[in-house]
């Protein structure tokens, strides 16, 4: 297992390298550059050139990439934003927390709701409850995030005036648990609805697949209580594929955060990503891309490890692979 994890981490390094190279090339190919965006067009050519030198954009492209990579590898430094001059590591560091908070809670809540509902709905297939759950999950998947978000803002913030429309804290109040929580509710509901909708369907179909297995019939034939059959024999096996879904869910949430954070002005990396792309803030784009790649690779790795732990058959095959 240890060997396997180490090997996966080592493989991740060239993957990350490749991701940054491709990102750099695409970014450089996109029209526009930070100097054009930052300065007004009236700027004398000499002044624009001074700015280019100051930002290090006068060097050939490969040298710019090399400088970026060297700083990253040697100093763990992602450079400075070309627009705000803030260190990129600090910018991302400040924004990653709120995004992870929002994503983490939504994912946890989503699973906490989806797994029991999915199981119940499978166990009582074709019951009224089953139809209700399936319909709700369908709604969760098909109602677009921005629509649900704006709708909730309209009802709970504007009409009922219960919750704030946007932000993470009330400005100047300094934050505090209750303050953050009230701001968290609406974006969290939207993301949770989405996660729940998708996950319920997987849990349900996975449970139904297991339900016809021989060993469940055996378990029942042994005279086991139905609860034990469902909770231990069926659910444990049904949840294995769900682990994979979870690994896929994290990158989806990461991408979906851009829209949600925009609607609710949530101070996470989603908005930072959008604004840095619009202003062609090269160093920030590179940093964000790297973080996103790390998250995806890490989520995949985690999924595989959990998968191996959950399913003894896979653990064996890893052992075999590690030995060879």
């Amino acid at each position: 297992m240890y060997n396997y994890v180490m090997r996966r981490i080592l493989i991740a390094i060239p993957v990350l390298f490749g991701v940054t190279v491709i990102n750099f090339i695409i970014m450089k190919m996109a029209p526009g550059n930070p100097v054009d965006m930052l300065v007004n067009p009236k700027l004398p050519a000499a002044a624009a050139e001074a700015k280019r030198i100051e930002l290090g954009l006068d060097a050939p492209a490969y040298e710019q990439y090399w400088n970026w990579l060297r700083n990253l590898v040697l100093h763990g430094d992602l450079g400075y934003s070309m627009i705000t001059y803030e260190p990129v590591t600090r910018m991302i560091g400040e924004k990653l927390g709120p995004t992870l908070l929002l994503m983490g809670i939504s994912l946890a809540l989503g699973l906490a709701i989806a797994v029991p509902l999915g199981v119940i709905s499978a166990v009582r297939q074709y019951s009224k409850l089953d139809y209700a759950v399936v319909t709700l999950s369908f709604l969760g998947i098909s109602v677009p995030n921005f629509f649900l978000g704006l709708g909730l803002v309209y009802i709970f913030a504007l009409k009922l005036d219960w919750l704030p429309t946007s932000g993470m804290t009330e400005l100047g109040s300094g934050g505090g648990f209750a303050d953050v929580l009230t701001h968290l509710i609406l974006p969290c509901v939207v993301l949770t609805a989405n996660v729940t909708g998708r996950t319920i369907r997987y849990v349900r179909s996975s449970m139904l697949e297991i339900a016809g297995q021989d060993y469940l019939r055996t378990a029942r034939a042994k005279g086991l209580r139905e609860a034990l059959v469902v909770n231990k024999h069926a659910m444990r096996n049904a949840l294995i594929p769900i682990v994979t879904i979870l690994g896929m869910e994290i990158p989806i949430l990461f991408g979906g955060a851009v829209v949600i954070e925009q609607i609710f002005s949530w101070p996470g990396i989603g908005q930072l990503t959008l604004s840095s792309i619009m202003s062609r803030d090269y160093s920030t784009i590179m940093g964000l891309n790297l973080v996103a790649a790390v998250v995806v690779i890490f989520a995949n790795l985690l999924t595989d490890i959990v998968y191996a732990l959950a399913d003894p058959r896979i653990k064996h095959s890893y052992r075999g692979a590690a030995r060879s």
């Binding site: 550059n33 007004n40 009236k42 627009i83 429309t165 100047g172 303050d179």
Partner: protein, 545 residues
């Protein structure tokens, strides 16, 4: 039977858990209702707070090179410029009490003697000179340096020539007085408009240990700690908010509003947040309310609205390599139904314009008739010029502004109707600028705001060599040079008049419409008027009822 029972138990536990979560949430809902409720009176915590909605992020608040309008406002609240232009287009004293000249070449700047840094030391002429040297330092590469290029001792880009450490045209008279000499005579208004408005004096004592090349990246420029203006920076999150607190020792008077916040919003959110009281006001051109929401905002009971000056103007860039004949460009201008756009799309909140000057400009010539919608004339002009009606043009339009996108549709239809085949391409600002600067476009529409007092730098950029339209006219260049050297207002106006005649003939870059941005302020705030010029001059007098 037992199995069902235990399932019921687990279901019950689940329901209880959900209910607990919900009740915890609703408990907090109540808390927030209370907080919100009290916020519409003096704000939470008993502090007088005003929240200002803006639609542009304060991307860089470094006073040497603020990035964008909102950054400039925030920087100006920390570091007042020498003078600030007010809505009546006069200049109000800020850090300087007066700027005077007798010969239009040497300008005497008298600083307010009570001006103090937040560390208690006075703001002196040395600080001003130090800031000018930073501004003209190529290592800092400020994109505002060129504005100071008129000062003696600086090169044409506004930089101090290599090897020199002093600006020869700037001299200290006493602690609160200094003189600045320009290379060529200029008017007092232009001096105030360029150097007066754009120099935000920085504290020499606090910055002297930071090497100029490290200054942009320094922590001080991210979150300045020693300031002199009415508000101090508390916190900034560039894409979301800026929080500022009153500087009780502000030299023009302690601000009554204890906390001033800027909230970065989508334009579509402004109306809702004005209604809910989450924001108290907007800045017309920097917190742009979409025109669709004008009626809603004007109908809100708790706010007072103001109509802004027509500032943000849509210009059509025409690549002269593609449309080489002046008659063809005239035809394009005649073909556009500007009145329809103003009436139907802007619902009257704007005006039709055709050149570089609009009704707010003191230089608008009375002798030139505005271009009306005349498709027949456009057709005949095209015919005379031998326009190839099979030629397909691409019109590149700035994306993100719903009104502009609709206007572009109308214009494309107008042009197709007279025989100029046009298809629309929506581009984000970065891409559009890139295309314009490289002249890799046919037609382009972009929002430009010209300053009303001193439009010369903009006009020189659009008409002199190297402009993004590829336009060239020796006579226009001569006029521009003569305006730059003139100090007599009457003669300046005459020259601008002649220039407008040339422009009307050549149509290098017709404008289409200018929007009057709507301003709104909650009635609980007194003394504040949302306006594009001089909104924050009296910020220390604002109060809450």
């Amino acid at each position: 039977m037992r199995a069902r029972g235990s399932k019921k138990v687990s279901l019950a536990i689940l329901i209880i858990a959900v209910l607990t979560i919900l009740s915890a949430c609703s408990g907090n809902n109540n808390a927030s209702t209370n907080a919100e409720g009290s916020a519409s009176q003096p704000a939470a915590g008993g502090k007088k707070t005003v929240n200002i909605g803006v639609t542009y992020a304060p991307s860089g608040i470094n006073p040497l090179a603020p990035v964008g309008l909102v950054s400039t406002y925030v920087a100006g609240l920390m570091y007042p410029p020498l003078m600030e232009i007010d809505s009546d287009l006069t200049y109000k004293p800020m850090l300087a009490d007066s700027i005077e000249t007798t010969d239009n070449a040497t300008f005497t700047v008298k600083l307010n003697e009570n001006a103090k840094w937040t560390d208690g030391t006075p703001v002196t002429a040395d600080d001003v000179i130090y800031t000018l040297k930073l501004m003209s330092n190529p290592a800092i590469a400020s994109n505002f340096a060129y504005i100071f290029a008129s000062l003696e001792g600086l090169d044409d880009a506004g930089y101090l020539p290599e090897g020199q450490s002093e600006i020869s045209g700037v001299a200290k008279v006493d602690d609160h007085t200094l003189t600045m000499k320009t290379k060529a005579p200029t008017t007092l208004d232009i001096f105030k408009d360029t150097i007066g408005r754009n120099l935000m004096t920085l504290p020499q004592a606090a910055l002297k240990d930071i090497a100029p090349e490290d200054l942009n990246k320094s922590d001080f420029m991210q979150k300045p700690t020693v300031t002199s203006g009415p508000y101090k920076l508390v916190d900034i999150d560039r894409d979301h908010y800026v929080t500022m607190e009153a500087n009780k020792d502000y030299f023009r008077g302690a601000p009554k509003i204890e906390q001033l916040n800027f909230k970065v919003l989508q334009g579509t959110a402004i109306a809702a947040q004005l209604q809910s009281g989450e924001i108290d006001m907007n800045i017309p051109s920097a917190g742009v309310i979409p025109i669709e929401d004008y009626e809603k905002v004007q109908g809100l009971g708790n706010v007072t609205t103001t109509e802004g000056t027509p500032l943000a103007t849509q210009y059509m860039y025409i690549n002269e390599k593609v449309v080489p004949d002046a008659k063809q460009r005239q035809a394009i201008s005649y073909a556009m139904n500007r009145e329809l756009i103003v009436e139907k799309l802007l619902k009257g909140a704007g005006e039709a314009v055709d050149g570089y000057f609009n009704s707010t400009s003191p230089y608008l010539s009375e002798n030139i008739k505005p271009v009306g919608y005349d498709p027949e004339k456009a057709k005949s002009l095209l015919q005379e010029s031998g326009w190839d009606s099979g030629k397909q043009l691409t019109m590149s339009v700035l994306s993100g502004d719903a009104t502009l996108e609709q206007a572009a549709q109308i214009i494309a239809e107008n042009l197709n109707a007279v025989g100029v085949k046009v298809n629309i391409q929506m581009l984000d600002l970065g891409t559009l600028l890139d295309k314009l600067v490289r002249m890799e476009y046919d037609l382009g529409i972009l929002t430009v705001s010209l300053t009303p007092i001193n439009p010369l730098p903009d006009i020189a950029y659009f008409l002199n060599e190297g402009n993004p339209n590829g336009y060239k006219n020796a006579e226009a260049e001569k006029l521009i040079a003569s305006i730059g050297a003139e100090v007599d207002e009457a003669k300046i106006k005459e020259s601008y008049g002649k220039l407008q005649e040339i422009i009307a003939q050549d149509v290098p870059m017709p404008s289409i419409y200018a929007t009057k941005a709507l301003g709104a302020v909650n009635n609980r705030v007194t003394g504040a008027t949302p306006k594009d010029f001089g909104m924050f001059i009296n910020v220390y007098e604002w109060d809450i009822k």
